[in-house]
Amino acid sequence: MQSSFYKLVDQLTEGLQGEEVLLCSVAGERSDFVRLNGAKVRQAGSVEQGTLSIELVQGARHVSASYVLSGDGEQDFVRGGEVLGALREQLPFLPEDPHLMFNREVESTETRGHGELPETADAIRQVVDVGQGLDVVGIWASGEIMSGFANSLGQRNWFSAENFHFDWSVYQGGDKATKCGYAGTAWSGDELRRRMDRARVEVQALARKPKTVERGEYRVYLSPTALSEITDLMSWDGFGMKAQKSKVSPLMKAVDGDVRFDPRVSLSDNPSSGRSPGFDAKGFVKPPSVTLIDSGVYKDSLVSARSAAEFGVATTGANAGESPTCLEMAGGGLAEADVLKELGTGLWINNLWYLNYSDRPACKMTGMTRFATLWVEGGEVVAPVNVMRFDDSVFRILGEGLVDLTAEPQLMLSAMTYGKRDMGSSCLPGALVDGFCLTL
């Protein structure tokens, strides 16, 4: 797709008129998806797609369009010409945009990742075989994903990766399950078996009679996965310049310096990890890292090209939503082997679910425990816990309530597939927290 994309942009550039500038992006995938329920196949299939986004700029006026590439170079060029013509007709109706910004310096980059992927049907047969006797539910996604940028100024950027991501749960019964994942670029049937065997053991612990805890404040351990649900919600308008200038960011109190997190909390967005494209739809190449929270103090924000123009600051190459793509949190001093002992009596929360704000200016959020939450007494797992709702402020959870963070942050790749396979990731430690407020 890379060469055909570049060729198409070259062809379209030849048709530009006067001082017109053309900005083009492509996002595509060749993916297999297999959905499992009860260790059997519910749906299996393939999706091949590539969407071209075109932005036509004339002075301070601009307008955009997108269409799906057929894969036939001639047909896609003809279609592109028609789209450009339609955009050219819209331009005179549009006012000059004071917030238009795109990269006028040519910065070409290329990142290509290659994988040793299995034949999907063979891998699924292995899953079904090693999952015998288990209630395995989940989604297999694999193949090539790609993203590119090219403009009429000669800039060319490409990112592609070949990988697989098997995201699954093993159910003990009802709503009790252990959540599992196996993602990478080189498939190993032995590794799958090892992870499934571990799930087989974990799910046994959920067979004990579940405990229903009362409302109240508890000492809890939030696994990296659970903590990622919290940082995901924080990322919704939290770190973006536009939301902050519009006063709707849930982190306003931290941004304004009225609230500090615990000094052990440091967060950054690190596009340099190479797990996602290092460029945006305006041609800006992202900096290696943006420090969001430094030792508990709010530091920098994510800035899209549009916000950069509006607020007179430098862009960080952020997407329009100004959310992090590779969020990383520094580890703390808690060894993973000591978590149970340090938790003592409380809840080990492996997963949270469906978080939202109950009071956005206070960064107070609510959500549910899910899959496997365990009641721990004296450092020993006693019973699974029936799902509970929490409602608590992140300023408190990662502030006065924070006991410690685990030493080794854990890399988690996004399993989201809205529109296409997501390339986001996070790398977070677990968090031991006092006074976690359960409400229902």
Partner: protein, 477 residues
């Protein structure tokens, strides 16, 4: 283009148990202003085809943007290969499921097409609304939006089925954020709830100018209002909150694929089990819920679902008793019970699954005054702003943009940051009042997420204003 694809499919149809081709094209344009500045105008055209094959007991699909003969031929071969390679691992013997081969058409109203108003006129309209929203220095952010969608599909089967459907959709939106240096509140035009099928004539019934004035005024009222009190009380919900309440705690738990376990790794399971249908008292006797894809102009109206099942109105809950699930033809076969025509995909690149479409609470009697006249103390809430529910769709907590206290049968003071929490299994049994037709709004949301691979789809919810007893309400931190 569609005719050519249909001809190719007829000529390339394989000798398999079942094969379908769904061609989808969705064109959209978004025009919006923020703080009086026109934002980038986007024009999208999403076009491709999905082939599904059932063969030898298995099922497979292939999505392709290549609508040439070779592209369709390759997609059919891929889908067939998936069916054959997974046949002995399938959750059900797909060859035993009788798939329909329908013929028919559907097109929503479109009295004043989007193209009939020049782009410049649309921008002028939004700028005028923007000016009405910015009434005070404390309004720190404001935006006005028109989102137009034309969704066209052609569904073909190897048994001669051919269904052509077109949905014209318009989604207007207004929103302000107000800040007083300490607190920020948001007020909007029903979230994005005024999403309907139709053309620009839909704007005539909305009076956007008056709505803009009201939204700005109410945002400022909220800024200086006290927080919603914490108490267990009577709760009255406007249609633009009922929409979310229906969606999360009736719609999702009654999706048959969830009950069958398909969604347990992502969207979740359900507290509802198969044995409950026909006997379970889901709510009070005032609760009547229909699956109704026939409502004129509602967001998810259609004549056939994406597996070709004719769409008809069905009672899901009647007088509080649970009657049937939201299950499509394949789920119905797996569960051995009747369902509805709700197999839907959000586009050409996703397979269809059990979804909500139009899921509505049927009206009762009386206006808002009648609903609250006997309430000594309670809270009236409008417009969803926060939503959270457990993976079994039981324990929920929802927040609204705007609320007023109800005291001695009348609406009184405005209160901000209203939230309430409850449990689906008991909440609907406390339904103590259902407003009449005069309180009913036909609403919808463009954003319902579910499925693996993930899909966002449009659903409709019509509801009257409703009253619930003994609900835990509370305000901000």
């Amino acid at each position: 283009m569609f005719e050519e694809v249909a001809r190719v499919f007829r000529e390339e149809t394989p000798a398999v148990d079942f094969c379908s081709l769904r061609v989808s094209r969705e064109r959209s344009q978004t025009v919006w202003t923020r703080q009086g500045v026109l934002q980038p105008v986007g024009n999208e055209d999403d076009f491709g085809a999905m082939v599904v094959v059932h063969h030898g007991g298995g099922t497979g699909y292939s999505a392709t943007p290549d609508l040439s003969r070779s592209g369709i031929r390759a997609a059919i071969a891929k889908a067939r290969a998936w069916a054959e390679r997974t046949a002995d691992m399938s959750v059900v013997d797909f060859s035993k499921i009788p798939m329909p081969h329908p013929t028919g058409t559907y097109e929503s109203k479109n009295d004043r097409p989007w193209s009939g108003l020049a782009l410049g006129d649309k921008i002028d309209l939004l700028n005028a609304l923007s000016e009405r929203l910015k009434t005070d220095d404390r309004i720190v952010d404001w935006e006005s939006t028109l989102w137009w969608i034309d969704a066209e599909s052609l569904y073909l089967t190897n048994g001669g089925g051919e269904v052509s459907q077109v949905q014209h959709i318009l989604i207007p939106h207004l929103q302000v954020a107000a800040n007083d240096g300490v607190d920020t509140v948001v007020r909007s035009l029903g979230g994005r709830g005024f999403a309907r099928q139709g053309g620009l004539e839909l704007l005539d019934g909305l009076d956007l100018s008056a709505s803009a004035d009201r939204i700005a005024r109410e945002a400022l009222m909220l800024l200086s209002a006290p927080s919603c009190p914490s108490e267990t009380t009577e709760l009255v919900l406007a249609p633009d909150q009922m929409m979310l309440q229906i969606h999360e705690s009736i719609g999702h738990p009654l999706e048959l694929d969830r009950i069958l376990g398909d969604e347990r790794n992502y969207a979740g399971t359900s507290f509802v089990t198969l044995d409950m249908f026909g006997s379970y008292q889901y709510g009070s006797e005032l609760l009547n819920v229909t699956y109704d894809p026939t409502v004129d102009g509602q967001l998810a109206s259609y004549a056939f679902d994406d597996e070709g099942v004719s769409a008809e109105r069905e009672f899901i809950i009647r007088e509080g008793k649970l009657e049937r699930p939201l299950g499509s033809v394949i789920s119905q076969h797996r569960a051995n019970m009747p369902g509805v025509a709700n197999s839907r995909a959000n586009g050409w690149n996703r397979p269809s699954i059990d979804r909500m479409a139009n899921l509505n609470v049927e009206p009762g009697e009386g206006d808002l005054d009648a609903l609250i006249s006997e309430i000594e103390r309670g809270v009236y809430m409008e417009t969803n702003v926060s939503w959270s529910i457990d993976d079994s769709r039981n324990k929920f907590q929802f927040g609204c943009e705007f609320a007023r206290l109800i005291e001695n049968g009348e609406l009184t003071d405005v209160v901000k940051k209203p939230n309430y929490r409850g449990v689906s299994a008991s909440f609907w049994r406390n339904l103590s009042g259902v407003g009449g037709e005069e309180t009913r709004s036909v609403l919808g949301t463009p954003y319902c997420g579910k499925g693996e691979p993930n899909q966002v789809i449009r659903v409709g919810h019509a509801s009257p204003t409703c009253r619930f007893s003994d609900v835990e309400v509370f305000g901000g931190a």
